[in-house]
């Protein structure tokens, strides 16, 4: 399958944007946010037939490491617009000791803390800021629970763009400091990310900033989806059996599900069996879990959201229906864990495997323990947890 037709190199097979709700098509050469007709997120389409003919997965494997080696499946058309700090190609670590304690032989963690700015948010913001640059945007704004703000500040600095960030006043201080040192204007909000989103949206409208809120522009998900490509490559072009993912806005979960579809269409998978997707939330903010248990298509707004995992304190994702759809389609599950179990799992990962996980990442281990108890996972299944960031960014929480 890898004898590809040789053609002049194409940076991206970007085709257009498509509404995830009504299916309307929009030009990818213009600035878009979300669908103006039905107000659903826009997804990026590629000419996958052409990519299938001309792009060689083995050639991609031989390139310099990093997210942008997958550039044909990313939305940037001119290489000079790729704003990179070395994101992507994070380690996939086997967890023998934690696995043994749970009776699992094939337990892994995708260690996203090695990304620039110490979290998986680097991937999405690298893609979004790059596309913003390509579209001529000069100032970007974001509401954040913390890590997305830090990442946007860094990539905006790298792209010589202005950055404004709205974040809750109790956001970990590392996020505030990293954003300000990169030159971003940081506004601390008395509330949580949904409050920050309202204010950022209003400032964007009044002052002409481009809003890179989760799913309110199409490109952050494209950076995140590469986690799915990396997993497929790491498992020799098969997919793991189970992916356990902490879910706030859900970009990574939806992005990986999109990646699996693209990989199948590209003909790059040796086995097209998809993973069961597990969405992990905190008991103090679990809108996806609540909706999943009711088999609903949308989440209710979670009132009085509280958890130590600030990235999970998202009362309702703009793409809730896409998160839920990926869970239903994959025969997955949504599970809520307590803050106490998150802290316990954070300690366990550090002591047993040397991984100082973010609380959101530790939540995936807390969820895994529940799933093992329920016998939802077989002992020999390949299970991948996501540690989405470094515990070093949450020292405030550990007092």
């Amino acid at each position: 399958m890898q004898n590809k037709l040789k053609t002049p190199e194409k940076t991206s097979y970007l085709a257009d944007l498509q509404c995830s709700g009504c299916g309307s098509i929009y030009s990818a050469a213009e600035v878009h946010t979300f669908c103006p007709d039905c107000q659903s997120p826009l997804l990026v389409n590629y000419d996958l037939n052409a990519a299938r003919q001309h792009v060689d997965r083995n050639e991609i494997h031989s390139r310099l490491k990093g997210m942008w080696r997958w550039h044909e499946l990313l939305p940037i058309c001119e290489t000079q617009n790729m704003v990179t700090l070395g994101e992507g190609d994070t380690a996939l670590l086997h967890l023998p000791r934690v696995g043994k304690s749970l009776g699992l032989t094939n337990l892994f963690v995708k260690e996203e803390s090695s990304n620039p700015t110490g979290s998986f948010k680097a991937r999405g913001l690298s893609a979004a800021v790059s596309k913003a640059k390509e579209l001529g945007i000069q100032k970007v704004i974001i509401p954040t629970a913390g890590n997305a703000g830090g990442a946007m500040a860094a990539y905006a600095a790298r792209a010589n763009m202005k950055a404004m960030i709205y974040m809750p006043k109790d956001t970990p201080s590392a996020n505030i400091i990293e954003s300000r040192i990169a030159g971003a204007e940081v506004i601390l909000v008395d509330g949580i990310i949904s409050d920050a989103a309202g204010m950022a949206g209003e400032t964007a409208r009044k002052e002409g900033w481009f809003d890179v809120s989760t799913f309110k522009e199409p490109y952050r998900m494209e950076g995140k989806k590469i986690m799915g490509y990396e997993l497929a490559e790491a498992f020799n072009w098969e997919l793991p059996d189970v992916i356990i993912y902490p879910t706030g806005g859900g970009t990574g979960l939806v992005g990986m599900w999109k990646a699996f579809e693209e990989l199948e269409q590209l003909g790059w998978l040796n086995n097209t069996k998809r993973p069961r997707m597990v969405s992990v939330q905190a008991e103090g903010c679990a809108p996806v879990v609540q909706a999943f248990e009711k088999k609903a298509a949308f989440c209710d707004f979670w009132i009085n959201a509280k958890t130590i995992a600030s990235g999970l304190r998202v009362p309702k994702s703009f793409a809730d229906h896409l998160i839920l759809a990926s869970l239903y389609e994959s025969n997955g599950i949504a599970i809520a864990v307590s803050d106490a179990s998150i802290t316990e799992s954070q300690n366990e990962l550090a002591k047993a495997e040397g991984i100082f996980a973010a609380p959101e990442g530790a939540a995936t281990l807390a969820a895994l323990k529940e799933l093992v108890k329920k016998k939802w996972i077989r002992a020999d299944e390949r299970v991948v947890m996501f540690n989405t960031g470094s515990g070093l960014k949450y020292l405030d929480n550990l007092g």
């Binding site: 709700g21 209710d300 009085n304």
Partner: protein, 129 residues
């Protein structure tokens, strides 16, 4: 049961979007551009569901919900109210529910979610894809 939906909203763009979406499903949309007109419309018209913006130019949506719930028109004690707001400021959802709203939605309004929320209370007379 009828299919009359009252939308209390001062933003004409949102009004147009929701009108088009709901009329596509066969609902009849009654429109009020501020809170006082909204309360008056709820009291004078047959209304099966109310969509209520919170940020209104005269009285806010919470006050609208309170007045509707305490109206002398008996049916208004039970008419479903869906609150919608652009600025999800701290406590908005809690305040909306305690003022008498049944459901809280934040803008931008996803039309498929709106259809689902409305249909949970008022079956669509003309369901389309």
């Amino acid at each position: 049961m009828g299919n009359n939906i009252l939308y209390i909203e001062d933003n004409p763009d949102n009004m147009m979007l929701v009108k088009r979406a709901l009329e596509a499903r066969g609902y009849k949309l009654l429109q009020a551009m501020n809170g006082l007109k909204g309360v008056a419309a709820a009291e004078s018209e047959e209304v099966d569901l109310i969509l209520l913006d919170i940020n209104l130019p005269d009285i806010d949506g919470y006050e609208v919900a309170r007045r509707i719930r305490s109206s002398s028109k008996y049916a208004l004690a039970y008419v479903p109210i869906i609150a919608v707001t652009a600025n999800a400021l701290k406590g908005d959802a809690e305040k909306a529910l305690s003022a008498g709203c049944d459901v809280y939605m934040s803008k931008p309004i996803n039309i498929r979610e709106l259809w689902a929320r409305v249909e949970a209370f008022v079956p669509s007379p003309q369901k389309s894809s």
